[in-house]
Symmetry: C2
Subunit: 123 residues, 2 copies
Amino acid sequence: MRIGELAARAGVSVRSLRYYEEQGLITSTRSAGGQRHYTDGDIERVAFIQRLYAAGLSSRTIAELLPCVESPSEQNSAEAFERLVRERDRISRHVEELVTARAALDRLIDANRAHHGRLAAAR
Amino acid sequence: MRIGELAARAGVSVRSLRYYEEQGLITSTRSAGGQRHYTDGDIERVAFIQRLYAAGLSSRTIAELLPCVESPSEQNSAEAFERLVRERDRISRHVEELVTARAALDRLIDANRAHHGRLAAAR
DNA sequence: CTAAGACCTGACACTGACGTTAGATGCAAG
DNA sequence: CTTGCATCTAACGTCAGTGTCAGGTCTTAG
């Protein structure tokens, strides 16, 4: 499939796909005329990348741990494996931060709830 | 206290404090010469703002829900209250995203662990 | 073959929370 | 009073992911 179809099926913009390739996150074969061609497997790959983006990883970080995705059995991914673990831990810490912040908002909501009966009931 | 002391005690940069004021998140009194003065209460206020930033809220969003912090009893904070609830829910969704991404990383880690005995043992 | 639409590269624009710099002023200690 | 550090305003720099535009090429339907 060409880039427009992949963009539609993966739910990202064409621009983003070209950027991902520029950053070494995805690859493509080229037609004689120079247009990018993709396989069905690329849909899932893009989805995976999106999840990591959503988790706050930078494109550089994602690129560094992709060897672990490609070939989990290679020993050349020792650095990548460490980064994998570090990022997992970073996500865990971030979750704790979010839970803390959410608790703060919950306290605020409670403090305000009495004055907003209808909204409070809607929850 | 002056801005440098607040920055040190709150653990943020002087630049950030001036930016927060510019965005309407904090206020200050001024000396005759124009320098900003703060109270002890501002330390906690800045810490609270930091928590919201860490939770992914923008300065504009924080500014919009500050009325709820200032005066939980005023009815003029109806909009702010709604935003409060929306942001709480957004944080919850974000936590779910992070947990999903972390699970994906955990699966990758498992798939790679066999080939990295020492690192696996360190966990 | 031709028109239309998808695609190409390259480049600039934007957002947001700051960092950094420049040049001027405030303020406390000797 | 002076020295020197803290602070002031104003403005530009940064980073990352993406939007958008320009000007040209590929592909496919008719």
